[in-house]
């Protein structure tokens, strides 16, 4: 092999890559937070007594889970303008990522809600709480705590999947790498560096979410095990 690896990027290139990484984080967090809210709503719709809500949620979830993210991005970025909604690539990217994460979050949160013991719900009902009050105070936080690992793992998939939005020209790490390597022709090195940056993001997020769990759920063994004699 007559190739010498040259990892010398200039400052401008590095700046571009770091800026891209920042945007990746931004899109991912936006997708996660809004997607989680969609997921909580979707999970309640999924088990609703109203048939229409159940159907809408089911169709939403099955559509997203059985079609590629790339096609969903195309539909949003290319399709919406045809009915009058003009979006920038970045806007379409965030919408697509949110739309995608929301469906997975729906299924994950649903599993969490279904795992809350019936007896807990009855205890809340017996105190006179309405459905909404019962859901918010008794069901939601234990459910989220139980599925926290699944949510974190799905978030990692979201963050890594965000690289796909480069296909429509949105600005994040992958498109930054595309841009840098197109100028210095060091394709392998640039992509290797970008890959390493993604790996750092993955590891960094894992620690971040582990730390957040310590903070959000201080009595972490409380859910599902203690305080009720039965499950």
């Amino acid at each position: 092999m007559n190739y010498t690896f040259q990892f010398d990027l200039n400052a401008q290139d590095w700046a571009m890559l770091f800026n891209g990484a920042l945007r990746t984080m931004l899109y991912s967090f936006a997708g996660m937070i809004i997607g989680l809210l969609i997921g909580i709503a979707g999970a309640t719709w999924r088990n609703s007594r109203i048939r229409l809500l159940r159907s809408i949620a089911a169709i939403y979830v099955e559509f997203v889970r059985n079609t590629p993210l790339l096609i969903q991005i195309f539909l949003i970025f290319f399709g919406l303008p045809s009915i009058g909604i003009r979006l920038s690539a970045d806007q379409a990217a965030v919408i697509a990522l949110t739309f995608n994460f929301g469906a997975y979050a729906t299924e994950i949160v649903r599993a969490g809600i279904e795992a809350v013991p019936r007896s807990q719900i009855e205890a809340g009902q017996s105190l006179g709480l309405t459905w909404f009050e019962n859901f918010y105070h008794v069901v939601l936080f234990p459910a989220l705590e139980r599925v926290y690992p699944a949510l974190v793992s799905q978030f990692t998939l979201l963050m890594l999947g965000s690289s796909i939005v480069s296909a429509i020209g949105a600005n994040e790490l992958t498109s930054a790498a595309n841009s840098v390597q197109s100028r210095n022709f060091r394709s392998f090195e640039v992509y290797a560096i970008a890959t390493l940056m993604y790996l750092c993001l993955t590891l960094g997020f894992r620690s971040l979410f582990w730390g957040a769990a310590q903070f959000l759920f201080p009595n972490r063994r409380a859910v599902g095990v203690a305080a009720t004699g039965a499950r």
């Binding site: 059985n66 590629p68 096609i71 290319f78 045809s82 796909i164 480069s166 394709s187 993604y198």
Partner: protein, 221 residues
Amino acid sequence: MRDFSFIDFNLLLFAARWTILLSLIAFFGGGLVGALVATLRVSRSPVLRRIAQIYILVLQGTPLLMQIFLAYFGLALLGVDLPAAVSATIALTTYASAFFAEIWRGTIEAIPRPQWEGSSSLGLTRTEQLRYVIVPQAMRIALAPTVGFAVQIVKNTSLTAIIGFTELARASQLINNATFQPFLVFGCAAAIYFAMCFPLSVLSRKLERRLHVGRAGLARQ
């Protein structure tokens, strides 16, 4: 500019054949390599375990798209001149192998300790334990998530569109450029993907349910 017609739909179907081919290669190729990596992952040697761990970490902790780019440009540097499709297939296969390895490791570790103790008390070596006692049980548990991941493989073939391979996603892009009817074109592409993925999803869920009913039945004894 022309209108989307049945001809275009057939073009999409034709391109979908590549999607299916890619998926099959990645599934079985990834399955083979994944089984090997899974064995390393549960090996008694800490070195082998560590190697497998890093392999899985890197492939699961980085975007598949990056892996495809690296495969494409990396292989070119080594002087291997392969069409984009082939390097993409290789990347997809290694990606799948990492996920399979992790899924199967999980199922092996889910087999209760007494199974290991019982079989070792009969004098079986570790390899024999895995082969005759642990893996057969693990396979039953592994069926549902393995089929579930097959769905991910099919969807991930769409990434090869980004490096120019004309499978279903890229074909839909090209047709959209010609017809400018995005909802129709991409809608049809989505429908074809759905037709491929949904049955697998349903199968995976059915397997999962049957597994839990079976295990609950055992527990009741």
